[in-house]
């Protein structure tokens, strides 16, 4: 019966069904960009195999750039999606906390000397310390949001303001430089592997998140809290704790992103590192079609959203758009997307659509 019914679906119905799918938005955007690039300049898709200065084989090309630089965003999008779903708000402090976590990593690696010849601690230790610190800062946001009932955007405004100052303070405002080549692997290439490492890190984070959502009730609980806090409380959940938890998880994502960021430079610049990344991360969530007011979420769509943004950024770079002018183009894309996905416009279009089909029947 069911298969028969499925076969009978008309094209327009199929299209309508596709339209209602959440993942449709990022996929459509991606396709649009891909086709645009294909027409404008097919060399966009060229990937060359070469040897970098360290003598390691690397793949380079625009697609690689997207995979490479979209990774931090994808990692952040994972955490940001959870926070958005649970709290109905966004964390605008991720850029600042990346600065903090990055600063912590360098501080642990360098000890008191800002130009060490050898690392003062294993990288894994530095990373773990950064994880703990970032989670503590996440917890700080979480406490304000969950227990003091402050709006997420406002609560995270505190760290947004102070984060970079704290980051500078951790390293006495010095700009440490790590000379150990191993440290640069995380944001570059591992010798022998021609695909950028950040992509693997992002894949690992996504895999862990997917497993956690599959085998625990985290996803379900998060959505329940986001949809209706009081009813989820009546059902025996602890909404405050779930919200708190989502911020701590975001903290962890921030630490991972920070590792990639500082590894890329082998150094840090407190006022510039991960600048405006919070806006891109929120955009990724929005592009993924997730409601920014919380509730249901789709992690895959958010991650897609993150890579779509990087795709857009890289495309614009290719056409020699200045980095400072980039936001203007992004804004146009964002407005276009949110307008077509807004419920008012959708209802309006649906009405027109049904009117036309009615006329056709008559």
């Amino acid at each position: 019966m069911q298969t028969k019914k499925a076969n009978k679906l008309t094209v327009s119905e199929l299209f309508g069904k596709l339209l209602s799918q959440q993942i449709f938005i990022p996929i459509a955007a991606l396709l649009l960009l891909a086709i645009f690039n294909l027409i404008a300049d097919p060399s966009f898709y060229k990937i060359t195999y070469g040897i970098n200065s360290a003598g390691a084989p690397v793949l380079s090309g625009y697609l690689m750039t997207i995979l490479d630089y979209g990774s931090e965003l994808a990692i952040l999008a994972v955490g940001m999606t959870l926070v958005t779903a649970a709290s109905g708000g966004q964390d605008i402090s991720v850029g600042a906390t990346i600065a903090i976590a990055g600063s912590v990593i360098l501080r642990v690696l360098c000890g008191t000397n800002s130009r060490p010849d050898t690392l003062q601690a294993p990288i894994i230790v530095a990373f773990l310390v950064a994880c703990v610190v970032a989670m503590i800062f996440g917890a700080f946001n979480g406490v304000l949001v969950a227990y003091f009932k402050i709006q997420p955007m406002v609560a995270t405004l505190i760290l947004f303001t102070a984060g970079r100052s704290i980051a500078a303070w951790i390293n006495n405002n010095e700009l440490p430089i790590i000379s150990d080549p191993v440290f640069s692997y995380f944001g570059g290439f591992i010798p022998g592997i021609p695909i950028p490492t950040p992509f693997f890190i992002a894949a690992a984070v996504v895999a862990v998140a997917a497993l956690a959502l599959k085998f625990t009730n985290l996803g379900l609980y998060t959505q329940a809290v986001g949809i209706n806090e009081s009813s989820s409380r009546l059902n025996g959940l602890n909404p405050a704790f779930i919200k708190f938890l989502s911020f701590v998880i975001l903290g962890l994502c921030v630490a991972v992103a920070a590792l990639i960021k500082v590894s890329r430079l082998s150094s840090i610049n407190y006022s510039v590192i991960a600048k405006d990344i919070e806006m891109d991360a929120i955009l990724a969530v929005a592009l993924g079609g997730n409601a920014l007011s919380g509730g249901k979420f789709n992690l895959t769509a958010s991650i897609m959203g993150a890579y779509v943004i990087q795709f857009l950024t890289t495309t614009l770079y290719k056409f020699n758009v200045q980095s400072d002018a980039l936001p203007a183009y992004k804004a146009v894309v964002v407005i276009f997307l949110v307008v077509i996905s807004s419920s008012v416009v959708r209802d309006y279009l649906r009405n027109i659509g049904s009117k036309i089909s009615k006329k056709g029947v008559a």
Partner: protein, 336 residues
Amino acid sequence: MQKKRKTLTDANLLLTITIVVFFLMYIGAILFQGKGFLKPQTFFNILNANAALLILSCGMSVVMITGGIDISVGGVTALVSMCCAVYLDYHNGNVLGAVAIALAIGLAFGIVQGFLVAYLDIQPFIVSLAGMFFARGMTTIVNTNPFNVANEEFVALKNVRIIIPGMGSLNKLGKYVNAYVEIGVIIAILVVIILFCVLKWTRLGRFFYAVGGNSQSALMLGINVKRTKFLSHLLCSLLAGIGGFVYFMHVGSGAASHAMGAEMNAIASSIIGGTMLTGGVGNIIGTFFGVLSLSTIQNIVSSAGLDQAWWTGITIAAMLCLFLVIQSVVMARKKK
């Protein structure tokens, strides 16, 4: 009746705390760093430097009272400065034309953002985020490199000083120097007074509070919720246009990095002033003192010779944190 009075006191409590904290801070500054802070001009300099922020914050408060947010104001400020600067220097413009440009940019942003938020029901955060991106990007597209405006008419206007009689002080040479404020301060004070009156005594003002407090019941009361939201965003962006021009008059240059983070300072000022992001609660006088507190802290930090500019960020954040927690506690008490 009894109950109503209590809620009134709560909202006023926030305002009182802000004002008291500001005065304590200022008196503390006088006691510990006397020299500079004893001179009224220090206070007027704070006003001069923050007149634009004051205007932006007023607009922000209105939007926040109505339950929205507008993070595009800093971007609009930068765009206004750059457009006016280019117009004045590269197109031989006059000051009146520049004012018109500023207002037009503000209006345009207000209409588009207001429409998207109110009539298409898109989240204000996302709309104004896009607005911010657009404004910042456009600023660089208009002109990449920062430059100082040389237009004589404008420079003359920029250097106009309104003398405050009797508040001057002796400088290091023992010469009496008059205290002054810039034109921007007068505009900002006017904005504060007008908005205060609008919010307190007009229908529109009460609509803002009603929609922000509970848009459902506002709708039941027959208030045009969409129109009210639209107007709040329009007002905010228009004020951003005015604030942008005041900022431009203060700095006298166009640069893409102008007013970076001004939106966050405006939000912080509003919050410190007792405006709640949840909507329905807020006061322009509070915002006024919020801006003063914020800028005084910055001034204290730099006068104290605390060598890291980073300290400013930390102290403001600490203050913000304190006020947020107080607000949250007050609200919790109110609910009980």
